[in-house]
């Protein structure tokens, strides 16, 4: 079954003013349940607009969004249900923290779902553990934490809703290398433990290469490429035109291919080394 399917999605910004522009221009896209999908594209290609349609934050000008088999804009569908099914973590999510304590902030989502206090408590603790939010932080104000720590609390706040589809918009942007590593590894682990579908919007092709099974390349509000990560990476010409640079090791492999040494489009150094040695 597909987690989410969009059909001919169009979204027009500022209709009727001189700034009118199509942010999405007929986007068709399907995410299979359980997949880890990367979404890439240069700034202004419509990535963020697309993901905001998947949980019903934006209403498409035309086209449909089907989330776990249900059309979210059909009559009788409560749009808030879409927010809980598809958890969306925004860019620089630490700016959404507002409560007096981290515990209360993580509990904000589950409370909005109308869960019982004991259920909220279990979920907060589980989500905090999943993002390695330490117990002593839970009683502290989120404003007393460092940037990277705040980010993890914000991520836990969305995980606590236990969405079946988790959408992450640049979850690691602006963090130091060890912070990036930790956040991405925790997300990857959370996915294998809970079997959720993940959409990762990122500018970092290295991160996309390491974690995703499939990649969606957006350009001018349209789907430029969509397929298995390695197949997409092999299309280096199209990617370059879209303003995207492949990881260095993949570029090297593609250059080798042109010289007659075909090892495909490996995503990591380890993979490339393995393939080269087996030649």
């Amino acid at each position: 079954m597909s987690a989410v399917t969009t059909t001919n999605l169009r979204y027009i910004y500022g209709a009727g003013t001189p700034f009118e522009a199509a942010a999405l221009d007929g986007t068709d896209f399907t995410a299979e349940e359980g997949a880890f999908i990367g979404i890439v594209g240069h700034t202004g290609s419509g990535k963020t607009t697309l993901v905001q349609h998947l949980n019903g934050l934006l209403k498409p000008t035309s086209g449909t969004v089907v989330l776990f088999g249900k059309d979210i804009w059909a009559k009788g569908y409560d749009i808030r249900a879409a927010r809980f099914e598809a958890g969306l973590v925004f860019q620089f999510s630490e700016y959404q923290l507002f409560e007096e304590t981290c515990y209360k902030d993580i509990a904000f989502g589950p409370k909005n779902m109308g869960l019982s206090d004991s259920e909220v408590d279990t979920r907060v603790k589980e989500a905090a553990a999943a993002m390695e939010v330490k117990d002593e932080w839970l009683t502290k104000s989120p404003f007393d934490l460092s940037g990277g720590e705040k980010r993890r609390v914000a991520l836990a706040g969305v995980l606590a809703m236990q969405p079946r589809l988790l959408i992450l918009d640049e979850p690691a942007a602006g963090l130091d290398p060890s912070g990036r590593e930790m956040v991405l590894n925790r997300i990857s682990k959370y996915r294998s433990d809970n079997n959720v579908t993940i959409l990762l919007v990122s500018h970092s092709m290295e991160d996309i290469a390491r974690f995703t099974d499939k990649v969606l390349v957006m350009s001018d509000g349209k789907v430029l490429l969509y397929g298995d990560t390695e197949d997409v990476f092999a299309e280096d010409g199209v990617l370059a035109e879209a303003g995207l640079a492949l990881p260095q090791i993949t570029r090297l492999a593609l250059l080798l291919k042109r010289r007659g040494i075909n090892i495909g489009a490996p995503r990591t150094v380890e993979e490339a080394a393995k393939r080269l040695l087996s030649l």
Partner: protein, 270 residues
């Protein structure tokens, strides 16, 4: 959505109005306001309104845009119209039902008020539609410059306005983003009872204030790093220059204003 508010927005363009010296535009706008309030009868207010239409045509701004900008103030306009309609007495009694009565003068004043307010807002909107905020504050600073003689901090005031105007779109964008982020966690911002909605503002306002203060302190630091110390001895990137066309526009405005006032004194014109 918040982004749909057009009042106070700037739409870049290349019309005569866009290229005009902002100082002249500001003065012309003030004359236009004076014109609206000096208008004594329907013919006068009609001429003033016609002038506004003419200005929109010159500025190549669609009237529909101005109408869209009027939407947020519509309740206010309707309120003032209705108030005048029912509470002004005098002239012939036209309609009565229990304690509600409408007089001839009531209708007249109501129509007059509504046209005046609509023209006023449309006229002021045209100023911001065709003038970038930076140009506008430059003009204000320039026009207020004589007040420096009495130790009035003109430059500081203009700088504060520039910064405030500069951050309005940024803060609107930020509010939009925080609202989206909280909605994504199930916050009810546009549904529910009044109490629910007011409570729902806390998750939006707290992060908004936190980031606004952070922005303010970052900006202050950046200004200090570049040795900003007020207006004394500073030169400008853009100096305001007036051209012949500015004189023409000002003259046209003055002539129309004179006509509007003159028409008010002619007894046989309604």
């Amino acid at each position: 959505m918040l982004k749909d508010i057009t009042i106070g927005q700037f739409f870049p363009g290349d019309s005569v109005l866009h290229r005009q010296d902002p100082r002249f535009k500001l003065i012309e706008s003030i004359i236009f306001i004076a014109m609206l309030f000096a208008a004594q009868n329907f013919t006068a207010i009609f001429v003033a309104t016609l002038f506004a239409f003419f200005a929109y045509a010159v500025g190549k701004i669609k009237i529909s845009l101005a109408l869209k900008g009027l939407k947020p103030v519509l309740p206010l306009i309707i309120f003032s119209g209705v108030l005048n309609l029912f509470f002004i007495t005098g002239g012939e009694l036209l309609w009565q039902w229990q304690f509600i009565s409408i007089y001839e003068n009531g209708i007249e004043t109501a129509v007059f008020m509504v046209v005046r307010v609509v023209a006023l807002i449309a006229g002021m909107s045209l100023l911001t539609y065709t003038t970038s905020p930076i140009m506008l504050t430059d003009a204000i600073e320039n026009l207020l410059a004589p007040l420096k003689k009495v130790k009035f901090p003109v430059h500081e005031l203009a700088m504060m306005m520039t910064i405030a105007l500069r951050f309005i779109p940024t803060l609107i964008e930020e509010t939009d983003r925080i609202m989206s982020a909280q909605k994504a966690r199930g916050a009810q911002l546009d549904t529910g009872s009044l109490k629910v909605r007011v409570k729902a503002l806390v998750p939006v306002l707290v992060p908004l204030f936190v980031s606004a203060f952070k922005r303010a302190s970052d900006l202050a630091l950046a200004m200090e790093c570049r040795c900003y110390r007020g207006g004394e001895g500073r030169t400008r990137l853009r100096t305001l220059k007036s051209a012949a066309i500015d004189g023409v526009c000002l003259t046209v405005t003055l002539v129309v204003a004179a006509a509007v006032i003159a028409v008010g004194f002619v007894p046989w014109i309604i």
